[in-house]
Every structure is written in C-alpha cells, then in structure tokens.
C-alpha cells in the first residue's frame, strides 16, 4: 500500500497540499558548516559528560565497596546466618542481551509503561513443580549449576516469557544462605532489559525470609567497554518477610518473587534515548532506575545520572550496610529539637539526615535536595535559622520544619527515612526511605539565598 493510499480521504479538499502551502519556507538557507560544527561540539560535550558522570558514579560507589570490605559478612535477619559481604566478580566480557531471538509481545498496558526495556513479564499461580526448597540442590532435570537452576525455575513455570539467552543465567552466583524455608504460593516473574544494549553484570540471588535483602552486584561495564568485569558496587532491595529469587545478568533482570511478600522491587534498566543517541546506552543518558511493585506497575523511576544518584544513592548505600543511627533517649532528643533540627550523618557521611519534628512526631528528613541536579555534597538541604526553615544550598528552595515544600524550584517535599522509637530510644532506619510528596502544581517558584545556612555534614566537595 502506498503512502498516498494510506491517507484518509480528504473529501475533495487537498489537505495535504494545503498543509504544504501553509508551511513557511526557511527565512535563511541553512549553513551546513555551522551545523557540522555544532554537531562536533555536541559530541565532545557528550563524551566529556560521560567521563564526568563516570567519576561521579564510581567514587561514591567505591566508598560503598570499601565499607563492605571492612565487614566480614552481611548480617541477615535473626536466624538467617550470613552471606559473604562481597559477591564473586564475573570475568565474562559483555555480550548482547538477546541471542538473536525477538522479544515477546507484551500486553500493551505493560509495554506502554516501560517502552523498550521490559522484555517479558508473567505471574505464576503456583510454585513450579520440580523446584526444591533447598537452594543448594538443583531441581530435577537440570544440570546442576545454580544458573541452570534459576533457568529451570523459569522454564518449569511455563510462563510466557522468553529466555534472553543462555549467557543470562550462566554466571548466576548464589549467596551461601542457609537452607531456606518453603517457597510461598505465588510468584511473579519479570524480565527487564534493553535488547540492543550490551553490558555485563555480576549475578545475585536471594531467597527465603532468612534474607531480608536482595543483593545485586553490578560491574558497571558500559556499552562498548571492554575492561575486565570487576564488581564495582553492590546494592540491595528489601524483601520483607517473603521469599524472592532473582538473577541479574547481562543487563537483564529476571526476578521471581512472592507478589504478596515483596511490595516492590528495584530494577536498573535502560531505555532507547528518544533524542537520538542511538542504541540504548547502559548506565548513562537513557538508563534509569525503576521501582516496580509486585504487580509490575511502576512506583517511581529516575533517570540514571545525577537524578539516580540523588534518588537511589542514600537509599541503596544505606541498604547495603543496613545502617541505623541511634539517636539516644527520646526525651533528650525532643528537648534538643525544640531549638531546631539536628543533623546526623552515616555511611562515612555519604548519607545525611535532618532530625526534626512534624508536630509531635520525630521525623528524619533527607538532607539531599529533591532537585535531581543537586547532588550532595555539591548541593544539599541545610537549616536556615534566621527564617526557621530548611533551604537548598544551590537553588534556594525552602521547606518547612516538617519537610513540606514552601517555595522554590524543588519538585517535592523533602524525602524521609524511617524513625523507630523503642523502649524510649530513637533510631533512624536508613533502610526505610520514602519520597517526598509532590508540591502543588500551581505553586509559584522562587528561592533565594539563606544568609546563615547550616550544612548537614556532608564532606566538603
């Protein structure tokens, strides 16, 4: 069918011709030399930005690895034993995600939410037969490797998903967890990945209520990069009171999890860059972090880069170390808060929090700005005693003492961490993180400088 035949009938009116007649010609002829020069400038900028972003990403994550190296093992929940603090690094070079096979068709509702990255998703009604509860024993019929065992989980399930390729599961690493309890009744299996991108990653797996977190090793290999795949960082997502299996490999994620027990999961993925950067680029412009709930719905997503660093670094880093900050006796803390919020930092000052009051409630407000571009320590939220509000160091947004947005360009209220009061003792739980509510859409912007801004304690840039 020709393009002309595809057009709807114009009813005698040549609307296509009318459009062409209505479109004005350029006032000036194009200067190709100027365009080519601009293109070269853009290319140089992109290269420089990627290099800078690499530093921004690697440096804080290196700090996480250092802190992990000091810890002999990651403590699990009571009775859960321990798994090694570091997962084995993979030596495999980056390979394409899809081994020549086409991704499956997805329900349009799923595809609409994720554009390219979601390759397949399915929900299982029951534990696949043949999969034992003992994670050290492969299921019947498998060749025995952990990778095959995970592959078996997907195969036996008969879920409408495709295998992304044998390499995806070949390097699965299993933490040395104790024998897990039986699996729960319902699972969801989700695969997320960008089919045309290349990357390599360490594996991860976690399961059973003995594991409170799901650990992900990430080598950080970027598209086209050929450096040896060494584990650069580790992240974790909380799996409260439920079993979870996960494989993360070759820029794709297979996740099998108890849909009732796991309220959300974190997925790092990549999208095709719509402004024309070409194939999806892993880790940098175009990549993003997606928070999924157990039904596959997106709860929140952030673009990788300064956004993701701001959004997930406090969260992930605190999860990785399971940091809790003891604030002492409740009465003494409340007395101190009468004079103003109290700053406190953890994880070698990578995460800073303002402890404040929301009415009578003690709250822990993130000292990282809700503005994506304001990454600590270059941008932060400080206390402005002369105004009695929190203020952003760079953009000047103001927040009330309870973290509610007051004015300025910040898109949300301040993010919050968990506060636990037990036996009169107050503890900040950095493993619990919630995004601030969106500010009113019609609110007027306008920040300003705070003359006596008190910083929260991030190290100097």
């Amino acid at each position: 069918m020709s393009a002309e035949q595809e057009r709807p009938p114009d009813g005698g009116v040549d609307l296509g011709g009318a459009l062409k007649a209505a479109a004005p010609p350029p006032r000036r002829p194009v200067d190709p030399a100027a365009v080519l020069q601009r293109g070269r400038v853009l290319r140089r900028r992109r290269t420089a930005a990627r290099a800078a972003l690499s530093l921004v990403l690697v440096l804080p994550l290196a700090g996480v690895l250092v802190s992990l190296a000091r810890t002999p093992a990651i403590e699990l929940a009571e009775g859960g034993g321990s798994i090694p603090a570091t997962l084995p690094a993979t030596e495999e070079p980056p390979v394409a995600l899809v081994d020549g096979s086409a991704p499956p068709d997805l329900p349009s509702a799923v595809r609409a939410r994720f554009d390219q990255p979601v390759v397949g998703t399915a929900r299982l009604a029951a534990l696949p037969e043949g999969l034992t509860a003992d994670c050290t024993a492969p299921p019947a019929g498998s060749a025995g490797s952990p990778g095959l065992r995970q592959q078996r989980l997907i195969e036996v399930a008969g879920a409408p998903v495709v295998h992304v390729g044998p390499a995806m599961v070949a390097s699965l690493q299993v933490g040395e967890a104790p024998a897990p309890p039986p699996f729960p009744d319902r699972y969801a299996v989700t695969c997320v990945g960008a089919p045309d991108a290349t990357s390599a990653s360490g594996g991860l797996v976690g399961h059973g209520p003995a594991l409170t977190h799901l650990y992900a090793g990430w080598t950080g290999l970027d598209a086209g990069e050929t450096a040896p795949a060494t584990l650069r960082w580790i992240s974790a997502v909380e799996v409260p009171d439920g079993a979870a299996w996960a494989v993360q490999e070759q820029q794709g994620w297979w996740l099998a999890y108890d849909v009732d027990a796991a309220p959300w999961l974190l997925v790092q993925t990549a999208e095709a860059v719509p402004d024309g950067a070409g194939p999806a680029e892993v880790g940098f412009p175009g990549a993003r972090v997606v928070f999924l709930d157990a039904g596959g719905r997106t709860m929140a997503e952030e673009r990788i880069g300064t956004d993701a660093i701001r959004a997930d670094a406090p969260f992930l880093r605190s999860q990785a170390t399971g940091a809790r900050i003891r604030m002492g006796e409740e009465g003494a803390l409340r007395a101190a808060l009468v004079d103003g919020p109290v700053p406190v930092c953890a994880d070698e000052r990578a995460v800073c929090v303002w402890v404040s009051l929301d009415g009578a409630e003690i709250v822990a407000l993130s000292a990282a700005s809700p503005l994506p571009a304001e990454v600590p320590p270059f941008g932060f939220v400080g206390w402005c005693p002369s105004e009695g509000v929190f203020a952003e160091s760079s953009a000047g947004s103001r927040f009330a003492r309870d973290g509610t947005w007051a004015r300025g360009p910040a898109p949300t209220d301040l993010h919050r961490y968990g506060v636990v009061v037990e036996d009169g003792e107050v503890t900040i739980d950095l493993g619990r993180f919630s995004f601030g509510d969106d500010r009113p859409p019609s609110a007027a912007a306008g920040g300003g400088t705070c003359a006596d801004l008190q910083p929260p304690g991030f190290p100097a840039p």
């Binding site: 393009a3 459009l19 209505a22 479109a23 004005p24 080519l36 853009l42 554009d115 950067a277």
Partner: protein, 170 residues
Amino acid sequence: VVEEDPRTAFVRLEHPRLVGALALYCGDLDLAEELAQEALARAVRDWNHLTTLRAPGAWTHRVAINLANSWYRRRAAEQRARARHGPSEGGVAPEADHADVLAVRAAVAALPRRQRAAVVLRYFADLPVADVAVAMGCAEGTVKSLTSKGMHALRGALDDAPAPEVTDVG
C-alpha cells in the same frame, strides 16, 4: 567534480522539511529554524548511528519533535515572559501570507499536540506511517488513528470557519 560531504548533503536536504514541519508544529518560524538546526546538529553528532538507519530523515524528525516537545514544556514560562515583554516578533510572517494559509496554520495549531505531530509528519513531511510511528514512538495503528482524527478536525475547522484574523499562530 568534488563530491559533497554526505552530512552536508543531508543537512541541505532535510533542513527545509524540518523547518516547515516544525513551523506547523510549533507555530513559530524562528523557533522552527532554531530547532531544525539543533536537530540536524544532533544528526551530525550521531552520524555513525544515523547511517545504519533505514530512514534517517524520520529519525531526525523524531529528534526535532522531541526538541519541540521539550520546548512545549518550557512554553508556559516563555508565555509569561512574552506577556511581560510584549508580543513576539518570531511569528510566521503573517503579513506575507494569504488568509487561507493563515486559516490552515491556525487550524493545525488548534489540534491536540499528538494529532498535530502525526498530521505534520504524515502529510507535510510525507513520512510513511511506519516512520511516523517510529518518530512518535507509538504503534502504526495509533498513527493512523491520530492522523485520521487530526485530518477530520482540520477539515471541519476549514469548512466551518472563514479565514481567521490571526496575526500570529504561535
């Protein structure tokens, strides 16, 4: 005979089409020229990728539409600025055009954004449905639906109303 650099040839070929499409889409010729130049610069930036594509022109139109959409997101602030500083001089040279041309532009400008993009890409830029779908990041069926609705709305607007007394379609 010295053969012209393929990037230069591409820029020369696509520039007028991009400017026309963007002028219809945005209703501002100055802006259209600016966005067209930026879209072409990005094409040059990603030339290696572009040469692997079946329809590099469609790709460039997609970049242009995305740039225009970014502009839309800033539009509210710009409109406030325009209100403070007086009307823009960047219109589509209305004094040089006939009333029916102005009517078409106004009718296009009145379309919902996605319908406008589909109609402009399909009927002004003459992109096949498949390329429009790529450019808009949606299914071909969606493109057909959008263009059908858009053309129906255009037809209705041009049938019902005389040439409007507009001086600036932006």
